[in-house]
């Protein structure tokens, strides 16, 4: 075996066409999980193989790629995937949300609003929103076919009966264009409203589970709730300790072993951008 050159963006053209066909079907039926012949990738299953295959199928030489994990560009797996495409597709990469044409993400949607023409590719571990209620694929496919989503409402209702509110904080189920129940991937429910009527194209790839689904631009994406228990997102008590941003998702950073901690932006690009613009920590009298 000699060292061999790989095709542009690693996958061979036939495989890309197969994935693109699945993507077209997914865009045509928003929220529907399209089976596709997921390939073995040179990174492990569960580490973004679905997202990587979708990115490889849609990326072109002129694209500018951004890869984030937990909202950050510098987490190890994001670095690894960005380096992969820089190597096999020789595309320009960026950490700036506004500059990117293609963004692959794990667990977050960037704070900076996405615009028309941008594509957001999600890495999805378990595409089936009903999976933990019904482990069998044969059953859940029938449930989707019949729009039989009572089980999920019962689950959410049981949460309310037990805790007084819905106890799902991430991978919070959504209804797409009034038809399919969809797993938004394990993004915090904080990010769910960003999916609704987004001008960007949102593509979801689950490699191990061999499913692709999509939300075309300006599609209705509604988080499930009840009239008397409307959907709400997480709120943080304090602004970002670095840039002072409010209304953004924050990570808790443990400072010592005495309970000291601080909250900083999960979206590192957003935070850096604000600090470059001169924003800093908000001065509060409540400094401990």
């Amino acid at each position: 075996m000699s060292a061999r050159a790989y095709n542009f963006a690693y996958l061979d053209e036939q495989t890309k066409r197969m994935i693109r066909r699945a993507l077209l079907k997914a865009v045509a039926i928003p929220g529907y999980q399209v089976p596709f012949a997921s390939r073995e990738m040179p990174m492990p299953y569960g580490w973004g193989t679905g997202g990587v295959q979708v990115t490889a199928a849609v990326i072109g030489p002129d694209d500018v790629l951004k890869v984030i994990d937990q909202g950050a560009d510098d987490t190890t797996n994001a670095v690894s995937i960005r380096a992969f495409f820089a190597k096999v597709a020789e595309v320009k990469t960026t950490t700036r949300t506004a500059e990117a044409t293609l963004i692959q993400t794990r667990h977050r949607i960037p704070e900076h609003p996405l615009t028309s023409g941008q594509i957001l590719v999600y890495q999805v571990p378990i595409p089936e929103p009903l999976r933990f209620l019904e482990p069998r694929e044969t059953e859940t496919r029938t449930m989707h076919a019949l729009s039989e989503y009572g089980l999920m409402h019962v689950k959410l209702y049981e949460d309310i009966a037990r805790h007084g509110h819905i106890a799902t904080t991430y991978a919070y189920p959504v209804k797409v264009e009034g038809r399919y129940l969809m797993d938004p991937s394990p993004i915090p429910k904080f990010d769910n409203p960003k999916m609704h009527r987004s001008p960007a194209l949102q593509l979801f790839g689950a490699g191990r589970e061999k499913r692709i689904y999509a939300i075309p631009p300006f599609t209705e994406v509604v988080s499930l709730d009840f009239d008397d228990h409307p959907f709400t997102v997480q709120e943080f008590g304090a602004p970002c300790a670095l840039c002072g941003a409010e209304g953004v998702y924050l990570d808790e950073v443990v400072l010592d072993d005495k309970g000291g901690h601080m909250f900083v932006c999960s979206d590192t690009d957003f935070c850096e951008d604000r600090r470059a613009q001169g924003f800093g920590p908000q001065v509060t009298e409540a400094a401990e």
């Binding site: 089976p35 299953y45 797996n77 667990h107 106890a167 904080t169 915090p188 300790a241 998702y249 924050l250």
Partner: protein, 362 residues
């Protein structure tokens, strides 16, 4: 003060450099050659070829050394390489009856045409660690004899002559499915199920096969036959109008013969479980055959009561490359989701505390 977790890129590069160092180990010792692995760790090579679904001994050996002997990692390397290879065509089914046999045993007949051939087996060895192997002492050449003139028909063919066992079935004119090129959809056809089992994790299938012997979907199996040896791989070339031999592969085939009491349509007869694996991999082939038979429960109208009979359960979890990836992905950061859960638990605890306080006050 908070220090951002930066420098992922440099950390990865350094970690891989350290990995390369640990893989090589003490530089004063000679590196293991690929030929040495192919020759002296042949069964490890066979396992990597089988579960990696790629018949290439040198490549498997290279993967084993690159993976530092971690078999699942080696299998993964082979799979990731395999997926980039073009598929030229589908071979003519291999003929295991025409196998050049090195080992062939039947547990259901004392003697049979072609005879019992033990071959290179661990069976009947006493598992006593041999200190002599620590030194490179000369090893005797094996005793061999001419291959017998008589053919060695498969035991299942012998039984089929009397109609005692279900027939082989008709070969479909449709090209067989390929689970590496099409998404799996349950329920599976038998050929796809066998493909999945053939690349399934040896340990997982062993445990499931074992469970059928212990009463979880009992199938009353007999090892009708196990044969190991080389078979020709042929390709029909339409342009030429005839079959061309591409080469030879070594395979292990196991045919389990199982009791079946019959039903309204079918008289009592034996049924089969089938196992076929690259290389010499007897444990895997036997486990595969046990699982195959258990998974045919639906076909025979048997009650599905045990994990080994549950196709979705077995096939969805048999692939060790998928399994290891997803289990190990828990190492990746999950702090965004964990933050959401932290927030929830804090809120629930606060509500719990205020509830207790309110109750105490009442």
């Amino acid at each position: 003060m908070y220090v951002a977790v930066k420098g992922g890129e440099a950390a990865i590069a350094n970690a891989h450099r350290l990995l390369a160092d640990r893989r090589r180990g003490d530089r004063s010792l000679p590196a293991i050659g690929i030929e040495q692995i192919v020759n002296q760790l042949g069964l490890a090579v066979d396992r990597v070829m089988g579960e990696g679904s790629l018949y290439d001994r040198e490549l498997a050996a290279l993967a084993i050394t690159q993976a530092r002997g971690d078999m699942i990692e080696a299998i993964f390397l082979v799979r990731a390489y395999r997926t980039t290879l073009p598929r030229f065509g589908i071979s003519v089914p291999i003929d295991t009856a025409a196998m050049e046999i090195e080992r062939r045993i039947s547990a259901s007949f004392k003697d049979l045409p072609g005879g019992q051939v033990l071959g290179p087996t661990f069976d009947y060895t006493h598992r006593l660690i041999d200190p002599a192997l620590a030194e490179d002492l000369p090893v005797d050449a094996p005793l061999t004899r001419e291959a017998p003139e008589t053919a060695s028909p498969r035991v299942t063919d012998l039984l089929a002559g009397e109609g005692l066992i279900e027939p082989d079935g008709v070969v479909s004119s449709e090209p067989p499915g390929d689970l590496t090129r099409e998404p799996l959809e349950f329920p599976l056809s038998r050929e796809l199920r066998l493909q999945a089992l053939a690349r399934g994790d040896e340990g997982f299938l062993l445990a499931l096969g074992y469970s059928t012997q212990r009463g979880y979907a009992r199938t009353h199996p007999f090892a009708g036959e196990i044969r190991i040896g080389e078979v020709e791989v042929r390709l029909f070339v339409p342009e030429l109008g005839f079959e061309v031999v591409l080469g030879r592969v070594r395979v292990t085939e196991c045919q389990m013969v199982n009791q079946f009491h019959g039903n309204a349509e079918t008289p009592p007869q034996f049924t089969r479980g089938y196992g076929l694996v690259f290389g010499q991999a007897e444990r895997k082939a036997m486990s595969m055959a046990l699982c195959d038979r258990a998974l045919r429960a639906r076909e025979f109208g048997e009650d599905i009561v045990a994990p080994a009979q549950d196709e979705e359960f077995v096939i969805s979890h048999s692939d060790n490359v998928q399994a290891t990836g997803f289990v190990e992905h828990l190492k990746l950061p999950h702090y965004v989701d964990f933050q959401a859960e932290l927030d929830l638990v804090r809120r629930l605890r606060a509500e719990h505390a205020s509830e207790r306080k309110r109750e105490a006050a009442e």
